[in-house]
C-alpha cells in the first residue's frame, strides 16, 4: 500500500497544511452526517477551510471527502465559563490542542482504490472510516484520480480551494444532461459559461446554439471589473462558430460582420408563443387565448397578419363578436401585438426559415450564436425569438431522432441550447408550456440539452430544476435561491454553508452528474493564457474523423 502522506506529513514545522499533511483523526460520525475529525495539536483550525478536500486512511479503505464545517470544541464544557490567563502564552499553548481543540466535519464521498493506477476508479462511499482513522489533506494525485486529469482529455476549469491542482471536468458527461449556471449578478456567471462553452466547442462532440441576450458570447465580451474586452467564441474558434443577429445595425455599429441576419415572419408566430408572452406583455388570460380563436378563423399561416389588418381596418368589434371573445381583451391583444410586431426583425411574411438555416449550420458541426443586439433588453423579444426558434429546431430533432431509431436516418448531432434569464422561460406558471420546459424534462432523449444561466434559480420550476444534471453555482445569498439550487442534492445541508461562503468572484460550487462529488472551484482566468490553449487546439481526432465521414458519405 502506498501512502505518500506519511513521509511529508510529519516533517518539521509547517506553516499551513501542505498537500497530504496530516490533519487529525476521526472521533465520531455517521454515514448520513459525515465524520468528525479532531485536529492534531499542531494544526490550527484557521488553516483548514470549508470545501477543502481530505483523505481518510481507514483500516480497509481510503476515503476521499470534503470539509463541510470547521468548529471549536473542548473536553471540558466549563471551559467557556472559566476565566483563563489569555495573555499567558504558556498556559494557552498547553491548553491548545489538548483541552481546547478544533474539529472539522468531513463528508466522506468516495472510497479510493488502494493502489494508484488501479483499473477500478473511486467508488461512492457507502460506509465511514473507523474511529481514530488518520486524516490528511488530499494530495494532487488524489485529486487527479478523482476528477480525472487534463491528459485524459478532460477540460480544465480551475483549481480546488487552496490547491494548485488542475481540476478537470468530463465534458462528455457534462453535456449529456442539462447544465445550470447560477449566481447573483456580477459573480462571473457569464465568464464561467463562456469558459464552459469554449471547452465544449473545443471538444467538438456537441453543437451549441447560444441565445446571446447581451451580445457577450459571439465576437467579444466585456470584463466590466477590469474594463477590458475579452475574446468571444467567434474570435477563438473562427469558422467553427456562426453568428446570427437580430439587429444588423447594432452589429455594424460595433464593426462586426455577422454571418446571417434573422428575420421572423408573422407566419412563424403561434398562439403558444402569445401564451408565453402573457406576462411580459401584460396580457390577460382571455386575451392570450383569443389567439387560438384567431388561428382557427384565419389559419396557421396568416392569422396574425389578418388579425392586425382587421385591427387597422377598425373591425375589431365585429371580430370580437364573431369569435365570441371579450372586445376589450381583443383590443389589448391587438395593441400589444401591434407594438411588438414593429420590431425591426419582424416582417409580415418571411420565406426564409431561420430555424432551418440554423439547423443547417448545426448539422455541419458548427456552433451558432444568436445575438440580440438592442433587442436583448426587450424581454418579450428574447422570449419569443428563442422559443420560436427552439421549438422548430427541437421538432426537427425529434423527427430526426425518431427516424434514426426506426433505422432510416443518421442520429442527430447532440445539441446544447444556451439560454440566459432562464427563470423567465421556466417559471412554474409557464414551464409546462415552453419548449425549454419540455426539453429540460425529457432529458437527452432527443439529443438536445439545455444550459440555463440564471440569477434567480428560485424562479425556475422545481420540476425543471430537478432535471438539471450538473449545476455550477457562484455566490448566492438569497435563502430561497440557495434552497432551489441545492434541492434534490444529497448532503445539501452541508453544502449550504459552503455555498453561502463563496467568494463573490471566480468561485463556484460545482456538483451533480458530471462530478463524483461536489467541489468548490476557483475558476481559471479567461484571458490570453486561455486563448493560447484554444488556438493550439484545432480539431480533435474524433472531429476529423467525423468530417471525413461527412465528406465521403461515411
Amino acid at each position: 500500500m502506498t501512502q505518500p502522506h506519511e513521509t511529508n506529513g510529519t516533517s518539521g514545522v509547517q506553516v499551513g497544511p501542505a498537500q497530504g499533511q496530516r490533519l487529525g483523526m476521526v472521533i465520531e460520525g455517521s454515514v448520513a452526517n459525515g465524520v468528525e475529525v479532531r485536529l492534531d495539536p499542531g494544526v490550527s483550525v484557521e488553516q483548514v477551510k470549508v470545501g477543502t478536500f481530505v483523505t481518510i486512511q481507514g483500516v480497509g479503505a481510503r476515503f476521499f471527502g470534503v470539509v463541510t464545517d470547521v468548529s471549536l470544541s473542548s473536553t471540558d464544557p466549563r471551559l467557556k465559563y472559566t476565566p483563563l490567563p489569555v495573555d499567558d502564552s504558556f498556559v494557552i499553548q498547553a491548553l491548545q490542542g489538548t483541552i481546547a481543540f478544533g474539529t472539522v466535519s468531513v463528508l466522506p464521498q468516495l472510497t479510493m482504490p488502494d493502489v494508484l493506477g488501479d483499473e477500478q476508479g473511486p467508488a461512492p462511499a457507502k460506509s465511514i472510516p473507523s474511529h481514530f482513522s488518520r486524516t490528511f489533506t488530499a494530495s494532487q494525485q488524489d485529486v487527479e484520480m478523482v476528477f480525472g486529469s487534463e491528459a485524459d482529455g478532460n477540460f480544465w476549469i480551475g483549481s480546488p480551494l487552496d490547491m494548485e491542482t488542475k481540476l478537470c471536468l468530463d465534458l462528455g458527461e457534462l453535456v449529456k444532461r442539462s447544465i445550470g449556471v447560477f449566481g447573483k449578478s456580477g459573480t462571473g456567471k457569464t465568464f464561467l459559461a463562456r469558459l464552459l462553452l469554449a471547452g465544449i466547442l473545443q471538444s467538438g462532440q456537441t453543437s451549441s446554439l447560444i441565445f446571446d441576450m447581451h451580445s457577450e458570447y459571439g465576437w467579444q465580451g466585456q470584463d466590466t471589473d477590469k474594463g477590458v474586452t475579452v475574446k468571444g467564441l467567434k474570435q477563438l474558434f473562427g469558422a467553427k462558430v456562426s453568428t446570427f443577429t437580430l439587429d444588423e445595425e447594432h452589429s455594424r455599429r460595433r464593426g462586426l460582420s455577422t454571418d446571417e441576419t434573422v428575420q421572423l415572419g408573422f407566419n412563424h408566430i403561434e398562439p403558444q408563443d402569445i401564451e408565453l408572452l402573457r406576462e411580459s406583455l401584460n396580457l390577460s388570460e382571455v386575451a392570450a387565448s383569443a389567439a387560438y380563436n384567431l388561428r382557427e378563423k384565419y389559419g396557421e399561416e396568416s392569422w396574425l397578419k389578418e388579425f392586425l389588418d382587421a385591427g387597422r381596418g377598425g373591425s375589431l368589434l365585429e371580430l370580437a363578436e364573431e369569435l365570441q371573445v371579450n372586445a376589450g381583451a381583443l383590443r389589448a391583444l391587438y395593441n400589444r401585438m401591434g407594438r411588438f410586431t414593429r420590431h425591426g426583425f419582424m416582417v409580415e411574411h418571411s420565406r426564409v426559415d431561420t430555424a432551418a438555416r440554423i439547423l443547417e449550420h448545426l448539422e455541419r458541426g458548427q456552433h451558432v450564436v444568436l445575438e440580440f443586439g438592442r433587442y436583448g433588453d426587450d424581454e418579450a423579444a428574447y422570449i419569443l425569438v428563442s422559443n420560436l426558434l427552439t421549438r422548430r429546431i427541437h421538432r426537427k430533432y425529434v423527427e430526426a431522432k425518431e427516424s434514426a431509431m426506426g433505422g432510416s436516418g443518421k442520429e442527430p448531432r447532440p445539441l446544447l441550447i444556451v439560454i440566459e434569464e432562464a427563470h423567465k422561460f421556466l417559471s412554474p406558471s409557464v414551464a409546462s408550456q415552453t419548449i425549454f420546459g419540455i426539453i429540460a424534462r425529457e432529458l437527452r432523449k432527443y439529443n438536445v440539452t439545455l444550459m440555463v444561466i440564471d440569477q434567480r434559480p428560485s424562479g425556475i420550476d422545481p420540476e425543471v430544476l430537478s432535471q438539471v444534471g450538473t449545476r455550477f453555482s457562484c455566490l448566492l445569498d438569497n435563502e430561497r435561491d440557495i434552497d432551489a439550487v441545492l434541492s434534490g442534492t444529497p448532503g445539501s445541508r452541508a453544502l449550504r454553508s459552503v455555498l453561502a461562503r463563496l467568494e463573490s468572484k471566480q468561485q463556484a460550487l460545482v456538483f451533480g452528474h458530471a462530478l463524483p462529488l461536489p467541489v468548490v472551484v476557483r475558476i481559471r482566468d479567461y484571458g490570453p493564457k486561455f486563448y493560447e490553449t484554444i488556438q493550439g487546439g484545432g480539431d480533435s481526432e474524433e472531429e476529423k474523423k467525423r468530417k471525413v465521414e461527412e465528406l465521403f458519405g461515411g
Binding site: 504558556f90 498556559v91 490542542g97 489538548t98
Partner: protein, 185 residues
Amino acid sequence: MVESTSTSFVAQCYQLEGAPALGGLVRTDSPDIYGVVGRVTTEPLDSARPVLARGEDADSEEDVIRDNPQLARLLTSRFEVFIAGHVEDGVIRQYLPPRPPRVHSFVYLCSPEEISRFTTRLDLLRLLLNSGASHADEIIGACIRQAASSHAQPDDFLADACRTLAVELSGDVARLSAILRRVAP
C-alpha cells in the same frame, strides 16, 4: 524510613535542616522505589512536649540556637513521600510497587541524571493527582519545576508535561490552569 504504606512513606532526617524540597524526587534502595516529597514537617520528638517560643531577648535566630543547644536534639524533621514508581528488573515502572518499602531502609535524594531518566515518562503525574493529598496541585507544580531543571531541554520537558497534565485533567480546566500557572517559567 520510619513509616511505610503502599502509597506513601515517611522518612526522618538525620539533620534538622536536612529535609529535601517539596516536589523533589527521592529514592529508597533495595528495592528501588521512587517517590515525590509531599510534606515536610519539623516537630518535637516527643509529641507530649510542645515546643515553647524562645528568644524573647535574642537579636537573631542564630542566637536562639546558640543559647539553647538542646533544641537540635529535641526537634526533628520528617517528610512524607508519595510513591511515584519503582524499578523492576532494571526497568522503570511508574506505578505502585507490589510491596511498600521497608521501614528503616535508607532514602536518598536523586541526582539530576536520575531525575531526568525517571521523568522521561510522566505517568507519575496521574499517581500524584490521585494521591489524595490536599495540596496535590502544589506538589505537582513543584515536581515539574524541579524536574525541568534536570533536563537538557527544559522547555521541551515543560511542554510535554503540560500536555500530559492537560490530558489527565481534560474535564477540569480550572484546576489545570491553576497548575499550569505554577509551572509557567
